[in-house]
Symmetry: C2
Subunit: 340 residues, 2 copies
């Protein structure tokens, strides 16, 4: 008998989530049947999209039900196998949720090549966030060498790879991040040409002034991760025929600041007069390019040409607090929970 | 000596334009030089984009200067020619502005085939508005047979052709227009499956309810001509992977209603979760498809499979009032001024 610890959605948040919205549950897993494997979680990935799953309304995916296990992807070890495709000791990426253990029939498990990079990267730079960065830049943003891109949440799991891939492509790369430490890291380690701390900008106009000075050839691509002040700053100064990859809007996920933000007519005017293309995307619609992403990015990670940073929280019982911190931008790089 | 009468921008409007913003000017045109032609305007086209030219700020084009001739396209007759490409009596479309006469070196004149349809159509269904409708539907909106499209300003110069082309393509076509008469015309004459009067809707929610009932398979394409309540109604009920062709936003051109309108976060949320593509366009960027448009549309007009409606105002001195009425939706179909 294996004891499974999981994190349950106990109530739906009104505004920003608190620890009250989560509950730890213990459960016994039965013996595995033929064709199944038993998984032990090593790392759990925490990602901003999970905030949407806590709401009652369906967006692009069904909400987590009250009393249900929080959704998420893990890196896990196979500790028992009755499936010929997997052996004990295999390391896989699996969408099993916020759990210490799980049973799987083997579908949707992705084996991880441990020779490329630390296994945690399968949840970050070589996993969903990396795939998101690559897709948002290349497929949605149609980024080209010589162009200028602005990336919000510039040092986050997605932004940090988007910035480095853009730089490797020969673009001018400007970041926006929260805090001096993040901005310094963006410039000195990730290779951003410039990075602005939105917390130091009194309002969108001030941030816009800084961005204008840093983008003498204008902004061709905006990689949107946050919404809020940054969106308001960027939209009116996009170049004609610019592209906006709407990947996330973390500043608006909990309804905070929604009232103060830029109104639609101003955005529509920019879209019309500048002939912008604004396109929302969800990375799971782009599985067809996962191998393109991985074959370009894995060698760069292996040869240390792409760097990544992780914030690792110990223990699944601390996942809710780590998630709340993530929504407040207190993490640095990819937020993981070390589960075992 | 030819006396030219023109309409001048006398002052920039604050909010909706009034007749005070315009002035009639008389002027003498000199003899034409070698290579030039003398044009006599027959029809002047009035179009919503002209409102943008009255503002001081550059959008996609330079503003009309104070004291400058209002910009616009005309159908004109060549009444004197020292250019071997044109003969007296030729009928051309020409971007000569709000004038009775003009001199041209022949560049940018488009000869009109008088055997296809009345020459006024070169400013409407077979001219810029038609080209706009075709491009917005096919190139920007990527409209496909079997899909559902919502078209605002459904009976306007652009909307009325977009609706008929969509219907000819085998789409479900829903219009939004201002007034019962326009809605009835959309359904009985233009072939719209349904058309709603936005004036009868108390707010965006009510209009949204009507649209939901009329679109059992959802909305795949929104052809945006107006902004305001209609945009607010449509955005949250777009289908996943829907496309929005941002062609105009007439309700917001003069700054009216901008404060009450939907805020950006709601739009951004729809764009992200539904993976929408929102793309602004200006028809002059798409001259490469003008012949595609014309070769598809001209035979349909010639054989009366596409119908068009015009509001014709007599006399160039009445152009300002006709333009003000156009911005208020008082015209029906293409607004023209019969100049001579």
């Amino acid at each position: 008998m294996i004891e499974q610890t999981s994190v349950i959605l106990d109530s739906r948040p009104v505004g920003p989530p608190t620890s009250e919205n989560f509950r730890i549950m213990k459960n016994s897993l039965s013996e595995i049947n033929d064709g199944h494997v038993l998984l032990k979680t090593i790392y759990l990935s925490l990602d901003p999209y999970m905030r949407g799953r806590m709401n009652a309304d369906k967006s692009y995916a069904d909400p987590v039900p009250i009393g249900g296990i929080m959704e998420g992807e893990c890196v896990a070890e196979i500790i028992n196998s009755k499936n010929s495709n997997f052996r004990v000791g295999d390391i896989v990426a699996a969408r099993i949720g916020w759990v210490t253990h799980a049973i799987s029939d083997g579908t949707d498990l992705r084996k991880i090549d441990q020779s490329v990079a630390p296994i945690s990267t399968a949840l970050g730079v070589l996993g969903m966030p990396g795939h998101t960065a690559w897709t948002g830049l290349n497929i949605i943003g149609k980024a080209k060498p010589g162009e200028t891109v602005v990336i919000s949440a510039a040092t986050g799991a997605v932004g940090s790879l988007a910035g480095q891939l853009a730089k490797a492509k020969g673009m001018r790369v400007i970041g926006v991040a929260g805090g001096t430490e993040k901005c310094n890291f963006a410039k000195s380690d990730l290779g951003y040409d410039e990075c602005f701390d939105h917390k130091l900008a009194e309002n969108a106009s001030e941030l816009r002034k800084w961005l204008l000075e840093a983008t003498p050839k204008g902004i061709d691509v905006y990689f949107e991760n946050v919404g809020g002040k940054t969106t308001e700053a960027v939209l009116p100064i996009m170049n004609d025929f610019g592209r906006i990859s709407v990947c996330g809007m973390i500043s608006w996920y909990s309804g905070v600041g929604v009232d103060e933000a830029m109104r639609l007519p101003g955005a529509w005017r920019a879209i019309l007069t500048k002939r912008l293309q604004v396109r929302g995307f969800i990375v799971w619609d782009h599985n067809d390019v996962f191998n393109d992403f991985l074959s370009e990015t894995a060698p760069l990670v292996k040869s240390n040409k792409i760097i990544f940073r992780e914030t690792i929280t110990e223990g699944i019982e601390n996942a809710p607090e780590a998630f709340i911190n993530l929504l407040n931008g207190k993490n640095f790089g990819k937020q993981l929970v070390k589960v075992s």
